[in-house]
Amino acid sequence: MTGDPKDARDALGRLADALAEDILNAPDEQVLADAAEIYGDTDKLAADMLRLFEQTASEQSKAKLVAARAAIAADRRRRQEQPALIRPRRGGGFRDFFPPTPRPRASSRWPPARARPFRTMTCTACWKISRTLA
């Protein structure tokens, strides 16, 4: 064995690999017996480990939520900064994209734009009579 610090890192890594592989291949009874000797109650050890896992999962869920909120906020800011070609109205729907065609202005020409339905259905002579009576 040499005293080189770089060798020490590699040596420890090789030792850890070999011993971890031994543990992965050992029978359950042996793993549990040794764990009981080193860590005490193996049921408590299992419960502590599960708690550690749940804590990690919970922290990760929270981190995802925070990231999603930040993404939504960033998207909203980006939209507000962009010049909008079609400015959406409050509660706007398809009319924002297909605005209604402007109606032609009312005029005195025939047929009258705002004529009542029965008048539109009459002939020119009838219309003149009705005008006279009115």
Partner: protein
């Protein structure tokens, strides 16, 4: 430990989480003990290694092939994290592009300072101290000491057993003693 094959179908994250929640005490013990051994070098706590492995599995950063046992998959994840920590500050010569020939204006790269910084010196000395402490655990047992030194050198299997003159059963029980003694030495205050 090798579990990576890009062509193989992998477990969904929810499936891994369900498998972990259904671990037996023996599986948890196995995982905890592997974490203890990968915390060697004193660069990362066993609990931190476990959390990193869980995090990598849950966020999909690490893929678990369907044919691989979840305990082994998490062990491999811990090995990878620990290996990264061990090599993080490993010094290598800086790679720099060669200047074009005949170009006097080409900038000459600053040579890397070969001296260690304070953090690197501290980590190196910790590793070296721990190696000596681990070997020192077996001064009362020459066969175990030979096995530990052999494992540190990368020796495996029959070659290592032949060095100790032990039969197969005695050799296996010696290795078990080594695992327990080192693990007790490495055991942190928590869990």
């Amino acid at each position: 430990l090798s579990v990576t094959d890009p062509a193989e179908p992998v477990r969904a994250r929810a499936e891994i989480a369900s498998a972990i929640r259904a671990f037996t005490p023996a599986q948890w013990a196995r995982l905890r003990r592997v974490a203890a051994h990968y915390s060697i070098g004193d660069l990362m706590e066993a609990e931190d290694l476990l959390q990193e492995a869980f995090r990598g599995a849950l966020d999909g950063e690490r893929k678990c092939p369907v044919s691989v046992d979840v305990v082994r998959f998490l062990a491999e994840a811990m090995r990878s994290v620990a290996d990264g920590e061990l090599k993080r500050t490993k010094r290598r010569p800086a790679l720099v592009p060669l200047p074009a020939s005949g170009d006097p204006a080409a900038p000459v790269p600053e040579p890397m300072d070969p001296a260690l910084n304070a953090e690197e010196r501290d980590e190196d000395s910790r590793c070296q101290r721990q190696r000596e402490q681990i070997i020192g655990l077996f001064t009362d047992d020459p066969a175990a000491e030979v096995i530990v030194e052999g494992l540190m050198e990368g020796m495996r299997g029959e070659d290592l057993r032949a060095l100790t003159d032990l039969d197969q059963t005695a050799y296996q029980s010696k290795r078990r003693l080594i695992r327990r003694r080192i693990e007790r030495f490495l055991r942190g205050p928590k869990l």
